[in-house]
Each structure stands twice: as C-alpha cells, then as structure tokens.
C-alpha cells in the first residue's frame, strides 16, 4: 500500500494505492497525518484494487474522528468491487462518494 498527497483547491487529496486490507490497514494511518488530523480531505481510491472489511473499518474510523472534530472526508473513484463492499455493509450511507477526486475537492472547498 502506497499513500500520496496533493493539494487541490485548498483541500488535501490523499491517494491510496494497492490493497486496503487487514494486512495494510493498520499502517495506513501512520503514513499520512492528513488522514488523522482535523482538516477535511478527499481520499482517492482509484488505485485501490482490493478492499476488505478491515480496510472499510479503517475508512469508517477516519470518518468518525474527522467528524467528531468538525472535519469531513469524501471518497472518490471506487471501482465495482469496492462499491460492492460499501453497498453490502451500507457504509455508502456514511460517505459522500464521487467519481472524480478533484470534483470532490471542489465541493468540499465550497462548503
């Protein structure tokens, strides 16, 4: 799992690449402070080819902590396999999900 950051319209987009799963999820939070601080972010999942329930739990945990502190997290670019995980668990109700990370950053900036 590799983690990259870029700024777009003042919002940090964190791109994850690889499998977000039980083996990699514990390390993800340490790899980017943007995932754990209070600022609103977009997580670009276009590079994530596999997500399991531990990976989902990691995203849910990020959302909970951000929102407790007044921030937010938006998700972008989920492939079919990832959408399936969100649909079955109804986690889609917890997230605003976008097809495009920069568009998601734009809507976050306007808010």
């Amino acid at each position: 799992m590799t983690v990259n950051e870029k700024k777009c319209k003042g919002i940090t987009i964190v791109s994850l690449n690889g499998s977000l799963d039980a083996a990699s999820a514990p390390g993800v939070l340490n790899s980017s402070s943007a995932l754990t601080d209070t600022q609103s972010i977009v997580i670009d999942l276009s590079g994530v080819d596999f997500l399991d329930s531990s990976g989902l739990g990691c995203l849910v945990g990020i959302a909970r902590k951000k929102r407790e502190q007044g921030g937010d997290v938006r998700l972008a670019c989920l492939n079919e396999k990832l959408r399936k995980v969100f649909d079955i668990t109804r986690a889609s109700r917890l997230f605003d999900i976008y097809d495009d990370a920069e568009y998601a950053a734009g809507t976050a900036a306007k808010k």
Binding site: D21, G57, C58, K84, V85, R90
Partner: protein
C-alpha cells in the same frame, strides 16, 4: 451441531485442491488471490461470462475475510498455527472451506448499526451476502466455515 453435520452430508462435494498456510495476516492476500484464480478457472469452464467477475470477487473477498478471522481470533497459546483452505465442487457450484483450531464461534453474528461508525464486525456479514450459502461446523476442535456459490 448435529443438524449442521446432517446438512453437510447432504452436500457431497468433490475436494480438488487444498492449502495450508501460516496463520499470519500477510498470507491473507496469497489465500484470497489464489481463491480468485480458482474461481476464475472454475467459472471459465462452467460459468456465464457477465457474472464471472462478480463470482471471482466473491471468492477473493470471502476468503480474505475468513482468513483474517482465523488469524485474528486464534487462541494465543498455540504456536505454529496453520489455516487450512480447501476447494470443492459439484456441477456448477464451487465451495471453499476455511478451517482453523480457534475457539468455537457463532457464525450468525449481525453487523452493528452502521450509523454508529463500527470499525469491526463486517466480515461474516460480507461473507453471507457474497455467497449463496454458508455453513459452519465444529468438529475435532476445528472450526470449518464452508462457503458455496453457483457459477451459473
């Protein structure tokens, strides 16, 4: 339990492949990718093309979940633990079974309310939704979770 065993006997499947892996989360991806490849090959022979991707992902994800559960719920005293995986089939149905020597558990656990932001507890829910049928058995101190899906 008795009931489970009877049900199992109603499901005579031919086991064609087995694996034994270390009970270490770093092997979860090897297990899940192998399951995906077996499902690809199996559905390539007897499956309908458009459902094939969904079929393969179901095995990839279900094995990832079952394997992670085996690793994370192992009894701490045991060393050199292994997780056993076996693939069986009958007509267009593929079954994968994941076995371990962990304590007995209740496979019917429900997912907690999503709006309370649960970080755990999705695994068995995913497995039940991805598969056509899921059977749990406890025998000789071993858990076995058998997951069946039709490729047709």
């Amino acid at each position: 339990m008795q009931q489970e065993r009877q049900r199992k006997n109603n499901y005579p499947m031919n086991t064609f492949m087995t694996m034994s892996l270390p009970s270490d989360i770093h092997y979860a991806r090897i297990a899940s990718k192998t399951a995906m490849m077996v499902a690809e090959f199996f559905s390539g022979q007897s499956g309908i093309a458009e459902k094939r991707e969904e079929f393969c992902h179901a095995f990839e994800l279900a094995v990832a979940e079952a394997f992670a559960n085996s690793v994370f719920n192992a009894a701490p005293q045991e060393k050199e633990r292994q997780v056993m995986i076996s693939f069986s089939s009958e007509k267009s149905e593929l079954m994968v079974s994941v076995s371990d020597a962990n304590p007995e558990f209740d496979p019917e656990m429900q997912v907690p309310d999503i709006l309370s932001y649960p970080e755990h507890g999705y695994g068995l829910v995913l497995i039940r939704q991805l598969m056509d049928s899921v059977r749990y058995s406890r025998q000789d101190g071993m858990n076995q979770l058998s997951m069946i899906k039709n490729a047709g």
